[in-house]
Amino acid sequence: MIGNDIVDLLQASLESRWPRKGYLDKLFSHAEQSQILSAIEPSATLWTLWSCKEAVYKIVHRLSGIRSYAPLSFSCKAGIVTHAGQSYYCRTIRQNDCIHTIAVQNRQLFEQVRMGFNLDTVRPLMQKNAAGIPSLNNKPLSISHHGRYAAWVSL
């Protein structure tokens, strides 16, 4: 299974007031907060951790069919996200203001990932189930867009 998440750092800086009181406490563990606050670029580190949690949430949501908003139940350390006793693996690439994370259930799947940055190439071909979860030729498809950037990943 696979999930992805993309963040436009410029858009995030316009949309988010993350230094506000309580914000970090509701989304990040103490260890994650220390990592963010001691980073050279705290906001880039924050959105990298967030994109890992989001990408893994998409896997968990796809498997369970249950929506929830529980960012603290996803703990992220060095590209490994743990949730409900399971580990998931993330690869994040940053290019300028674009942070893109791909998450998989086992590392071998990284070799099989198909991806692109133009959603128009997959939109006509993708199908959505009743819960709104997309697929491409019966393979899991994850799409993400934010600000100026978009990406899709599939297997």
């Binding site: 995030a12 949309e15 988010s16 007031r17 506000r20 009181k21 309580g22 914000y23 509701k26 989304l27 967030w50 989001e54 929506r67 929830s68 908003y69 529980a70 960012p71 603290l72 709104g132 934010h146």
Partner: protein, 85 residues
């Protein structure tokens, strides 16, 4: 506080984060924050924090987990307000 007043106050709270104005104008108990209002998931926490400040309540993690739509938000706010009394 009656439900209509509560929903109106929620509407004021979500307004800065909602990207779908038509859905915002038609906000009701069935409105979903993410699917209908198109609120970014990183802004849902702002809705939670704004609700805490506005109603002087604390939304614990178990409650936040369900804060995905107006119906749940109303239920959570009503329950927390009752606890405060």
């Amino acid at each position: 506080m009656d439900k209509a007043t509560l929903i109106q106050q929620l509407k004021d709270i979500v307004k800065p984060y909602a990207k779908n104005e038509v859905a915002l104008d038609n906000i009701n108990e069935q409105t979903d924050f993410v699917n209908d209002l198109k609120i970014n998931s990183a802004n849902l926490v702002d809705v939670v924090l704004d609700v805490e400040e506005k109603f002087n309540i604390i939304i614990d993690n178990d409650s936040m987990e369900r804060m995905l739509n107006v119906k749940s938000a109303v239920e959570i706010i009503e329950a927390k307000l009752a606890d405060n009394q």
